[in-house]
Structures are given as structure tokens and as C-alpha cells.
């Protein structure tokens, strides 16, 4: 993409790319019918218009953004979905065709089970490796980064990830600890000494595991990515270009852990702030690269440790929001549509996070009251959500329909709303999920 383009032009180019989709060879994507092509384009425009908030779309868009629900709906265990890639893709396709949402988010959630085994992934428990076959994978929180390692992370985040962090979370990557210091590879004199580690058995074993893992990832992505293309030809677009994270969550989720980062706020606040500052451009780059590689504008940002109840207002404003805001603005600058998910409650944060440019972001709303969200952040941002998991799981279709109707009244009258579930869910009554989609189509016409 040409660097002369303005942020708005970059974003528009991504949307226009979506409207003239290509197959993996770069030729125009052949749709399966003229109706499918029409639906596909209508859906992209409906979502784009809802996000940009300049005019009203034809109706409120609706989507289902689940966790393991598509595979439970197909009668599969999570284990099967993680290990049988073809079956995983087929079940996802059926889920989209049966529920008929405006947007689909891909069949990437289960991930390749065998790949995790090859690399001996320790950060998560998954079916057959710490949780039962029907359970979703879950994070094993820990102090994967020690408190005294902040300086190493700050000085060279990539080096820290390669030499220290990755070998801790992937058992098979132990050889990375022996890798040379790459910025030291400078001149002919002595250069070969840097490469001795690659001749040693532990490093070679790590590379062997990487080759296998890479092959397995390819084996997985072929059917899983294929289903995105196939669904597009049937009229179901995806706009998800990848994900990034709030710098506070990068450290609080998988490096220092919740306990670690909360203690760091008191014990080493300057180091924590400095580390987040260093991570910020990397998190922007992660999202922008990913959007360009996939041609999809939306960059998902799951928000975790800044929700109601985690931090005080003062702590949120000092530690959580400044670098998250920078990431969001950096993504916008790079032509992306940032898509933060306010997981849990965000009532106490709305006044702080509403300070963003209009029509450039989508916020997924979980437990926060939608009227409050609309009054604050919803003045500038498209809201997506907030049909509760409990309702989808235990309510009746009538209750779901009434909830969706109310959402549209409260938050959808002047656009800027996409109906969806509020939190990622595994279990739900299919008739309730269907009622959510149908009610949006019925009550959401402008």
C-alpha cells in the first residue's frame, strides 16, 4: 500500500478491496450465484455504514461472534473441533448457513490441537491436556515473566520474547535460550562463532519441532481459511483482520499475570509504565500488518484487566487507558478499524474511553448497560453486542426477541449499532441464537 495515502484513504482502500473480493490466486472471486454476490456486497456496506455513522444503513446489521458454540451445535466436542480440521471447517460452514448472520468471524477459535502438542504449549489447558473433551481451552495464568526481567523486556522486547518468554510457554522451544544475540552479528571476523548454537542438538531439536509445527499449522489453515473463501462465495463476508491487545493486558494476561501486574502497580510502577510505552508501537504494528495481510479492516482488541472492579478510576487513567488509546489511534492512523471488546462491565470507564474520533471504531459491549454505553462512547463509536450469554443459554426465543427489540430502541435509532452476543459463548439454545438474528432483521429496518 502506498505510504502517501491518508488514514481515511487507507481504510477506504481496505473496504473497497472487500467489495471486490479476490480468490487466493488473485482473480476476482467467483460467487455461487448473483444473489450471493448481491447479499455479500449489501452486508459489507451495511456494516461499513453502521461503523462510519455518517448515514443510516438499510437496517441494523446482526452477527454471531461465538466461542465454541458452532461445534457444540454440530454435536461435536471441543476436542474433535481442535483435532479434526476438516470436520471443524464443515461444522462452521453449516453454522453460518443455518443462522444466516450478516458477518462471520472465521472458524479459527478451536485452533489446531496437534500443533499445540508438537510445541508443548504450557500457557493453556485444552481437551486431553488438562480439561475434559467437551471443555473449551483455558489459560493457565502464571508469572511467566519475573519481576526482575522488566529491564530486559524494555531494552529488547523481541529478544526477550525469543530468548526468555517463548521457551517458558512452549516446552519444545527450549533451544531458543541458546540462540545468539542477533545485533552482535556484524562483521566477518568472528561471525561464525554466533552460529555455533545452530549446530547443537537442543537448538536443532527446537527447529525440528518448529518445522513440524509449521507444517501442522498449514494443514489446519487450509480447510479453516478455505471456509472463509467458500462462505464469501455464498454471500457471507468476514471483516476481521486480526487482533492486538492493550499494552496493560499484554503484561497482565500472559507475562506477569493478574497478580503480578497488580503488585507491580505498587512495587515498580515506573518499570510497568515504561514497558507499556515500549510495547505500544509493537501492538500497533501487529494490528496494521495483520489488516494489510488479510485485507480486512477490523482489528479486534479484547480488553481484560481494566474492566469495572479491577482498577480504580485513577489507576485506569494512569496505567490502562493512555497506551490503549495510543494503540487505538495508531490503528486508525494505519487505516484499520479498531474493535475493542469491553469484556465484563465497563460502566465506570465509559466517560474516559469516549474520547475517540467519530465513526472510526466498533466497541463490543458485554455487561455494560447499553443505554449508558450509547450516551457516552456510543456518540462516537458503533456499538456491537450486548445480548447476554445467560439469555441465549437459558432464556426463551420470546425473551431474546424482546431484548433485541429493546436494544434497537435504546441504542440503534440513529445508527451505530450491530446486534450480537455480548460475550463469547460455548453453550446456547440454537432457537435463541436464531431468534437474535431474526429479531434484528425484523425490528432493525430503518
Amino acid at each position: 500500500m502506498s505510504p502517501q495515502l491518508s488514514p481515511d484513504e487507507k481504510r477506504e482502500a481496505l473496504w473497497q478491496g472487500k467489495l471486490s473480493p479476490k480468490d487466493p490466486q488473485g482473480n476476482p472471486l467467483p460467487f455461487q450465484s448473483p444473489e450471493a454476490e448481491k447479499k455479500y456486497k449489501e452486508r459489507i456496506l451495511r456494516v461499513k455504514t453502521a461503523i462510519e455513522m455518517e448515514k443510516l444503513p438499510d437496517r441494523v446489521p446482526v452477527t454471531v461472534f461465538p466461542s465454541m458454540f458452532p461445534w457444540k451445535y454440530a454435536g461435536m466436542t471441543v476436542q474433535e473441533a481442535m483435532y479434526d480440521y476438516e470436520k471443524c471447517a464443515a461444522a462452521f460452514k453449516k453454522f453460518i448457513l443455518d443462522f444466516d448472520p450478516d458477518l462471520q468471524w472465521g472458524a479459527y477459535a478451536p485452533g489446531p490441537g496437534r500443533f499445540f502438542e508438537i510445541l508443548d504449549y504450557k500457557l493453556y489447558s485444552w481437551p486431553g491436556h488438562g480439561v475434559a473433551p467437551e471443555c473449551c481451552y483455558q489459560c493457565n495464568e502464571g508469572e511467566y515473566m519475573k519481576p526482575e526481567e522488566y529491564d530486559a523486556l524494555i531494552q529488547d522486547p523481541t529478544g526477550y520474547f525469543i530468548h526468555v518468554y517463548l521457551p517458558r510457554v512452549f516446552g519444545a522451544l527450549g533451544g531458543f535460550q541458546m540462540l545468539p544475540f542477533f545485533p552482535g552479528i556484524l562483521e566477518m571476523y568472528g561471525v561464525a562463532l554466533n552460529f555455533i548454537p545452530f549446530g547443537l542438538p537442543p537448538v536443532q531439536a527446537t527447529f525440528q519441532a518448529l518445522f513440524e509445527a509449521g507444517a501442522e499449522a498449514l494443514k489446519w489453515v487450509t480447510p479453516i481459511g478455505g471456509v472463509d473463501v467458500e462462505l464469501a462465495t455464498l454471500g457471507y463476508p468476514t471483516v476481521l483482520g486480526g487482533f492486538t491487545k492493550a499494552p496493560f493486558d499484554v503484561i497482565g494476561d500472559t507475562l506477569r499475570g493478574t497478580r503480578g501486574i497488580m503488585l507491580d502497580i505498587y512495587r515498580r510502577p515506573e518499570k510497568l509504565l515504561k514497558a507499556m510505552e515500549v510495547l505500544t508501537p509493537l501492538m500497533i504494528q501487529m494490528g496494521v500488518n495483520s489488516a494489510q495481510a488479510t485485507g480486512n479492516p477490523l482489528i479486534f482488541i479484547p480488553l481484560h484487566k481494566g474492566a469495572d472492579g479491577f482498577l480504580s478510576d485513577e489507576q485506569f487513567r494512569k496505567f490502562y487507558w493512555p497506551t490503549l488509546r495510543e494503540v487505538i489511534l495508531g490503528l486508525i492512523e494505519g487505516g484499520c478499524v479498531p474493535f475493542p471488546a469491553a469484556e465484563g462491565g465497563y460502566s465506570s470507564r465509559l466517560e474516559v474511553v469516549k474520547d475517540l474520533p467519530r465513526g472510526k471504531t466498533v466497541w463490543m459491549i458485554d455487561l455494560t448497560d447499553m443505554a449508558d454505553a450509547k450516551r457516552t462512547i456510543g456518540q462516537n463509536a458503533c456499538l456491537l453486542g450486548n445480548v447476554p450469554s445467560s439469555l441465549l443459554n437459558l432464556g426463551t426465543p420470546e425473551e431474546v426477541r424482546a431484548y433485541v427489540r429493546r436494544l434497537i430502541e435504546v441504542a440503534g435509532k440513529d445508527g451505530g449499532l450491530i446486534i450480537a452476543n455480548g460475550a463469547f459463548f460455548d453453550e446456547a439454545k440454537p432457537e435463541n441464537v436464531k431468534a437474535m438474528v431474526e429479531a434484528a432483521k425484523e425490528y432493525g429496518v430503518y
Partner: protein, 209 residues
């Protein structure tokens, strides 16, 4: 000095608090008196959490400071101190779910509020809750879960208590993730709580404190 210690802990002045404990011991202050001061500080921290002044960083720091003080005092305490407790609460994350942050906060807050809490950890099968209710004889059982899968595990746990004839011996509260009135009715729990403060007030109400 004990007032200084209470303030140091309550204000999260970790190093100052630990130094004060050492100084007090050097000056012959009884370990029990130091422990009392630390408990007073925990009360203040708990109250500030309930009022929305303190949040996770302070709870985690309080746990850290208390742990260090307990380490210093342990060899000096002749016998484990007798504490009057409001009642017993059994708590755990239900089967299939390994999330524990919320549960740990509720446990901390119940403990700070004078309850004796037995925490069974995460991924706890119904039968383990049943056995613990028999042995520990709590007045209150707290079931925690973050995933939608936990709704069924909570229901099964409560059914297991019923099958064992123990359901009417305890009050059951649930919490975590998207737990609400729908989930409460589905699982057969007596009440749900949206946060740790709600959990504490339910437990207080049920033991008549």
C-alpha cells in the same frame, strides 16, 4: 506503634509495615498484638474495597503484606491464635472451569470479614463439594464459574447436594462471568452475587451476622 502499623498496612506502605513489625518485636511487643493490628488493617482494606476506593491492586498487596507478616510471626506464636468466626463458607470453581481470580477475591473478602473459608480450588467435581459439605459443615456454599459451561456444573453440584440430603443444611450462592437471575433459577441456587461485596453481604445475611 500499633496504630502506625495499622496505617502502614492500610495505606499499602509495604516496606514500612514490615520494618515496623520487626521493630515492634525487637521492643518486646507481643506477636498477638501485632497480629491484631494487622487484622484491623485488613478490616479497613476490606471496607475501602466495599466502598469502591480500593480495587485488585490493593487486595493483592494486602495479601502479600499479610503473608510476610505471618511468616515473621509464625515461629514466635506459641499456638495458633483463637479467632472468633462469623461462620463457615465452602467455596470453589465448579467442574470444567479453571478460572479463579473472582473466586480468590471473594475468598479474601470473606476471610477479611471474619468468615472461616475453605477453598476447594478450581475444576471441583460435584462429589468433592458434597464430601466437603459433610466434613467442613459450612452454612454457606459459594460456587464460582466463568464459562457458560459452568451453568450446568453449578446445577449438577446443587443436585448432588440434594441427592446427598445436604441441600437444606446450606445456603448456596453463585457468581462469576455472566451469572444472573436466569442462571440462578436454572441452577437452583439460593442467590447470585455480581461481585465480592455482594457475596459477603449474602453470607452475612445467611449466618445472621
Amino acid at each position: 506503634m500499633s496504630e502506625e502499623l495499622v496505617n502502614a498496612i492500610a495505606e499499602m506502605k509495604e516496606e514500612e509495615a514490615i520494618q515496623l513489625v520487626r521493630d515492634m518485636l525487637d521492643k518486646g511487643v507481643k506477636p498477638m498484638a501485632i497480629l491484631d493490628a494487622a487484622r484491623q488493617a485488613m478490616d479497613i482494606i476490606g471496607q475501602r474495597y466495599e466502598k469502591g476506593i480500593y480495587f485488585l491492586p490493593e487486595l493483592m498487596m494486602a495479601g502479600e503484606i499479610m503473608g510476610q507478616i505471618a511468616e515473621i510471626l509464625k515461629p514466635k506464636l506459641a499456638e495458633s491464635p483463637e479467632v472468633k468466626r462469623l461462620g463457615r463458607v465452602l467455596i470453589g470453581t465448579v467442574q470444567g472451569d479453571i478460572h479463579d481470580i473472582g473466586k480468590n477475591i471473594v475468598t479474601f473478602m470473606l476471610d477479611a470479614n471474619g468468615f472461616e473459608v475453605l477453598d476447594l480450588g478450581v475444576d471441583v467435581p460435584p462429589q468433592k463439594f458434597v464430601e466437603a459439605v459433610r466434613d467442613f459443615q459450612p452454612q454457606v456454599v459459594g460456587l464460582s464459574g466463568f464459562l457458560t459451561l459452568a451453568f450446568d456444573s453449578m446445577k449438577e453440584t446443587i443436585q448432588a447436594l440434594e441427592a446427598a440430603g445436604l441441600r437444606d443444611k446450606v445456603k448456596v450462592m453463585i457468581g462469576g462471568g455472566s451469572v444472573d437471575e436466569h442462571v440462578r433459577a436454572y441452577t437452583g441456587a439460593d442467590a447470585y452475587g455480581r461481585d465480592a461485596v455482594a457475596g459477603v453481604s449474602l453470607a452475612r445475611k445467611w449466618v445472621g451476622a
